[in-house]
């Protein structure tokens, strides 16, 4: 039995998720948007682990392991794309990266 309760854990996960969401919405640099998405993924994993510990089943931690793997794959491919974008457009401002093909 740990001293943390489920409700406080879920509240923390919610606040963290909302922080990441605000970061995704207010930043213009795509690197910061990726960082805020990592915060959101971490918050979702936090909620999973707390829920799993509440029911006494290891499924919550298993879900977190999968979230970790998905986040790692997404970050690697996303950063490779960001490097390509930077080499091509010379900017990381998302309001300038709004065309699919150059004219």
């Amino acid at each position: 039995m740990t001293e943390i309760s489920l409700e406080s854990g879920l509240i923390i996960a919610a606040v963290l998720f909302v922080t990441g969401l605000a970061g995704v919405m207010i930043r213009r640099n795509i690197m910061f948007i990726l960082m805020s998405m990592e915060i959101m993924l971490n918050a979702a994993g936090l909620a999973f682990v707390f829920a799993g510990s509440f029911w006494g089943m290891p499924d919550g931690q298993v879900m977190f392991i999968f979230i970790l793997a998905v986040a790692a794959a997404e970050v690697s491919v996303g950063l490779a794309l960001i490097i390509l974008v930077y080499h091509h457009f010379r900017t990381l401002d998302i309001s300038k990266l709004d065309n699919l093909k150059e004219k």
């Binding site: 409700e7 923390i12 909302v18 971490n42 298993v62 790692a72 794959a73 970050v75």
Partner: protein
Amino acid sequence: MNTLFIISTIVMLFSSVMVITRKNAVHALLYLGVSFLSAALIFYLAGAPFIAILEIIIYAGAIMTLFVFVVMMLNMGTPLRRKEKNWMRLSGWLGPVILTIILLTEILIIFIRPPFSFHQLLFISPQDVGFTLITKYILAVELTGMLLMAGIIGAYHLGKREKKAIHRYLEQINK
């Protein structure tokens, strides 16, 4: 132990807010690392020590390192500070922050609504986690392996430089 939980929660929330408000990318990454470390501490206090160590190794150790390397490669630290300062004006972030605060209030109301009671969390040992992974979630483990393989191949292919038709030296001579 409740004190430890409160302290690590404050550290995590504070560093997450600092991540989204910094102008220097390297500073934001350092705060992100602190956020992951405090999340690992919270995992340990919640009865999930295996996940705490995994978070440190993979999240703070591999994913953060990727970010740091790309930020260093694109030279995003000090030169971009002025641009970031121009991008973060009050008109830009006031609306989304108000909306997210509304969402946060709603979700807090849902969690604290009566009937409200504190439910305790149990300790899950790594043996249980490993056993469940191998027996119940074996399909998902295999699919995760395929996903990571696809990620490796995609990242390699995207990061490959295209081969030049003529050598750099010949290009320079012909200029």
